[in-house]
Symmetry: C3
Subunit: 363 residues, 3 copies
């Protein structure tokens, strides 16, 4: 059993600390309480220790606030009478995200290329790039400054990756794809797999259409674990700036996803479909091919989008329809037993009337 | 072309053999027939050779029993008149599982760390741990006795894994996650990826909430190929003892899955949802966030759970409702053409009555 | 920072060129125009340069044809009056696929085993096999001529792979599976993971049934990124010749998929189900276990197949029904508000009639 490590390339674990005064300034909150109390981290309301802060991000958690042992709570103005140290702001969730980021551990991967990594020829590395153990970086890549290519990650030939990206362990970015700055690719995600393009020949056999395009991913995108984004047949599959993609999302060839979209887990988008900006597709939703979805459209979970949708609509259902229409239809469906009884009752009344009428006629 | 191997670290292929008498004792069955017949394995009824055993696990397979060439059949008491060597027991499927386990090949990975693996500093290995070629084990891990970290598997920093686990090729367990004893993680599964947590800032941009928690997986859990289990925002995502998870299942941050649950392929569970014990979610089912599902709830395939469910319910549909309610509604929907015809007929009768009434009035 | 590569094993990038005359012959089209114009590639209508060709594969793209700068267009006979160089054929999509294949770059992996790959003992390599950096090939494998096992791919013990296959980076083929000729396995796909087979014991605990079978994949199959195909409990899970499987498709143990089928992204097929030939399952469709689906069945997206389907049916819905039946039911459901109003109106008329009748009786 080998016990001595091959190499030590890990950063410090050392926790960071801040005073409440420093935190208030960094996250843009008004401090109610002593500025010099020093805290070491963030925690949920019911788990926070006296040297941690916590937050009330949703009314459902408000009942836990009074009993929390946290040094201070991030709250909105509606809760500023809690009578304890508070960090008051407009958006406690946003302030919490910023506070947590201050305490988050830096990734433990030191700059440099690990000896066990494979590195092709002709790569241009920016400053302080890290390539972890058993990672793969193909030939002719450009890797921007401070980007981390974690242990076991795979970056193919002629890939361009910007600055400050994190390519997590076992993530795969295939040949010639282009990745912007501050992009995060989670483990198991595959970027640049072949699009699913075939043509039937005379015998009904499926002939592969070579997938010769690329995937382009713009700045500040995050791609979830085990998601896949296929390369274009020709041209590019394009994920635009600020879009966040959850786990096991499938994006087919030549799709364009606009800016600042949210694609929740297990969503699938078929070929050549275009999404506008600020679109939200909830979990397990599917979108057909060659469809256009306007800005700010929101589609509820497990829906199937079969047609283009104009900007601003809220949709639901299989097939997806405007949410009000779905509610009306669903209400009707649930009243069907009642309809059925009314219909039966009415049929009896009509029969009685007919008999009475018959009786009258017989008079 | 390199033809000589770098290393030989494989175990024996040697098949195991048992007599029917030994088998009966090991699997808890009553033997009808000669105890000294020796068999070398298990096989389906129609493929078994005279030196293998087979089983009747479902009435659909009963017609194949008579013609099977197997040395003996595992059956329940209802079939003990088959007039051939039998292993009679209460639960033939369970007895078959136990018999098959006796014959199953041991994993072919020898104890020790392969030269091509990456091993960080500060790891504590139990006895007879195996780390295969090109596997990765980060710093400060604890790996329990007899656990196999197969070729190409990835275990991040400060991970704790118990005894007798199998981490299959290319499985990924990320930093600080905690895995119990006898856990099986199939290839491509990702444990500890970042949860999907963002807050919108003033411009509608999505600001990442650092995902600072872990995943805890208790004893006897199995995780399917290409599944992903996200780490908690704070605290833990928790898969409790004995739960079995199929392929491509998505489990979001802070979810708790109770004991002895079954999550079938392509299920998705959104953030902070809690499942009780012995819950069954069939394939492609989705569960919304912050929902509580009671013990022994069963949800049929492709359902969407939008609300909490109390213990013991059987649910179906999008959205999921109790199965009886779904059946009634579905029956009504399928009768709609009939309703429509009845409505039309009734309308005609009413028209006739009105005209008759009009006639009467005109009299 | 290490900048010199460990090895240079990449092929040429050199683009291929063809004259229009050569292309016409290769793809089986009639050339209208000068045979000696030389072109270097294919591109979409609106992006093609004068040294590229393009195609009109769907009427939706026809309006772009006139303005395209392409050297020539692949079209069908209905467009042969375009008054520019044309490659006229029966099936422009098929001809385009063949033309694109002529220009497609050869994979950039040189024959031979890379020094950083792991290679077990007893492997039989055909001619010109390539095993890329950090790839894994287990013991006793047979790898056919010209097959590429790309960087980071994993092939377990005793696997048989035919000729001219591409096993993409990070694809996983587990022990004893059998792969035919010209098979493509995309990144992140897992072939041979354990089937999801458990039996409950007396305490309601799930006892694993050892999964002792294999996966067999026949010639000309393609498997998409992050898909998983489970090995059989006993015997084989079988994907037959010419079938194409998209990303994140789940195929359970003992399933048989017939020849020339199309399984679109995120489809799931439960255990022991059998598909005939030329079956098409659109995206996110699920099929229950132990179901038989006949030849040429097509199931629309997001359907749930709960029963066997006879050959040639077109199905849709949850549960899936013949498409005409679904259309009728869906039409009825959308007319429910109208039904409801008719019912209300009718009830009022009946009431009026009853009152009138009452009045008559009172007369």
């Amino acid at each position: 059993m080998k016990k001595t490590p091959k190499t030590a390339m890990l950063g410090d674990h050392g926790d960071k600390t801040f005073t409440l005064g420093e935190l208030a300034e960094r996250i843009g909150a008004d401090l109610q309480g002593a500025a010099d109390i020093r805290v070491v981290g963030v925690a949920p309301l019911d788990e926070a220790r006296p040297d941690q802060i916590s937050f009330v991000g949703h009314p459902r958690y408000a009942p836990l606030a009074a009993a929390s042992r946290a040094a201070a709570l991030i709250v909105d103005a509606s809760r500023k009478e809690l009578g304890r140290p508070l960090l008051v702001c407009n958006n406690p969730n946003l302030a919490f995200a910023r506070a947590a980021a201050l305490f988050a551990k830096p990734p433990r991967l030191a700059a440099g290329v690990h000896d066990s990594a494979y590195i092709g020829p002709g790569i241009v590395f920016g400053e302080d790039v890290a390539v972890g153990p058993l990672a793969y970086v193909g030939s002719d890549c450009q890797i921007g400054p401070r980007t981390l290519i974690c242990g076991g990650a795979y970056v193919g030939d002629a890939v361009v990756i910007g600055a400050d990206c994190i390519i997590h362990p076992r993530a795969v970015i295939l040949d010639e794809c282009r990745i912007g700055d501050r992009v995060i690719v989670n483990s198991g995600a595959v970027i640049g797999s072949d699009g699913f393009g075939f043509v039937q020949d005379e015998q009904g056999h499926h002939v592969k259409i070579p997938q010769m395009g690329i995937v382009r991913i713009d700045d500040d995108v995050e791609i979830g674990a085990n998601s896949s984004i296929d390369r274009a047949t020709l041209g590019k599959t394009w994920i635009r700036q600020g879009t966040k993609i959850d786990n096991m999302v499938h994006i087919a060839h030549n799709v364009v996803v606009g800016e600042h979209c949210i694609l929740v887990a297990q969503v699938g988008i078929a070929g050549s479909t275009q999404l506008g900006n600020h679109v939200v597709l909830a979990g397990q939703t599917g979108v057909l091919d060659h469809v256009t979805i306007g800005d700010r459209v929101r589609v509820a979970a497990k829906s199937a989008v079969a047609h283009s949708i104009k900007a601003g609509e809220d949709m639901l259902g299989i097939p997806a329809v405007p949410i009000k229409e779905w509610m009306r239809t669903y209400g009707n469906v649930r009243r069907l037993t009642q309809f059925r009884n009314q219909l039966k009752e009415l049929a009896e009344k009509v029969k009685t009337l007919e008999q009475a009428m018959q009786g009258n006629s017989d008079d």
